[in-house]
Symmetry: C2
Subunit: 231 residues, 2 copies
Amino acid sequence: MTDSREDTDQPYCYRYPHPAVTTDVVLFTIRDDALQLLLIERGNEPFKGSWALPGGFVDIDEDLDDCAARELAEETGVENLYLEQLGTFGRPGRDPRERVISVAYLALAPEEQLSVRAGDDAAAAAWFPVKALPPLAFDHDEVIAVAHRRLISKLDYSTIAFQLLPETFTLGELQQVYETLVDAEIDKRNFRKWAQALEQIEATGELRRRGKHRPARVYRLTGRDRIAYLK
Amino acid sequence: MTDSREDTDQPYCYRYPHPAVTTDVVLFTIRDDALQLLLIERGNEPFKGSWALPGGFVDIDEDLDDCAARELAEETGVENLYLEQLGTFGRPGRDPRERVISVAYLALAPEEQLSVRAGDDAAAAAWFPVKALPPLAFDHDEVIAVAHRRLISKLDYSTIAFQLLPETFTLGELQQVYETLVDAEIDKRNFRKWAQALEQIEATGELRRRGKHRPARVYRLTGRDRIAYLK
DNA sequence: CAAAGTTAGTGTCAAAACTACACCTTTGCA
DNA sequence: TGCAAAGGTGTAGTTTTGACACTAACTTTG
């Protein structure tokens, strides 16, 4: 890091103008057997009426992760979910108002945990299937594309997908999540063999009866780590 | 993104103080059969005399990637190498002067391409083995740890390690790079089978004689993509 | 110029991982 | 009670991985 500034009586912002820094969150969930993400409708210019990722300016004494969690809570009422930093988007001109550098986060939560309501700054908050997104503000289409690729590729070497399930789940539900994510059918026996070989889940001993068919064994994650890396 | 500011005649920096944004680069190379990285000795406070990652403040109209490349060139004379964004570090208090958010980059280059000289802001620039780092300024030890983990884990699913070799190389040299990175010996026959199965390298037809032994075939990367993802 | 030293270069076999594939079980409901 | 619907299980063929040892070609030295 360079040291290209000395103390003078001029405030920084005139001698070395600072960019604004925001966080934006790509929150995925699975609803109606589709991968969906949360967008808010912008209530103000620029891009008024367009849809955008939830997010906002970083407070001057606030950590980045905290900012992402706070903005998500404020704008959507969603709390306590899996959040990981995705990348930082800072192309000059991406915000027409001023230079804005955005630290993007990838978030996952099970549908059950979410009760979205529009917050102060948002005209509305709504879920959209990843395959049918509306026109987006700023460079948020690009941010979402990166998030989606990251999620899909992380399936191969981590247990990140478990973050899309509630605390307890059946193997059928788990398989549905994976099938939705990879957008393909998976062989049931091979999938179950694989899932049990992970050593990341254990049966609770309970059965869950849903629908007119044989009840399913209920599982939970072992360990309290949010995600495990495979091999 | 929220819209929590209106236009008034007050400058931004008083109503909504902006953090400073920097880029820092973790540049790895292999020297003397060891993974080494480039540090600069700080010429000014804070942390004067400590070693730190090369980097500096983002210009107000400058893209982040450009900033990382520019600062690296200015401080060390190193140009035209592999650069990828690593992550953003913004814990309040990580810089004692003011709030500084740092976008970190991972960079790789072959030793042959590097002729490091200390630039304006740095008292000195030097290579250190990853296994024997000096005390570091700011949170740069943490940044380096993340970069190192990223590099090692990317070995498994990409051809990122080829960025540590010059344009042409022998399979022996390639194997040495991998052995240095994973810090273990690799079976020669299995390695060569693997490397050729990648379909990412081709023989140039030349032979390279170095030392008192049989000359080795020379290879180059096929395709001009910097890194390929495997499987 | 022969011998010694050094890295280049090659194939096989066993174990492990992966893939394809079909039937019975248990429940709810008509 | 029988039908619809998801739950639950094993095996065999194929592919991938990992262990392992010798000959080839060059340089240097005696």
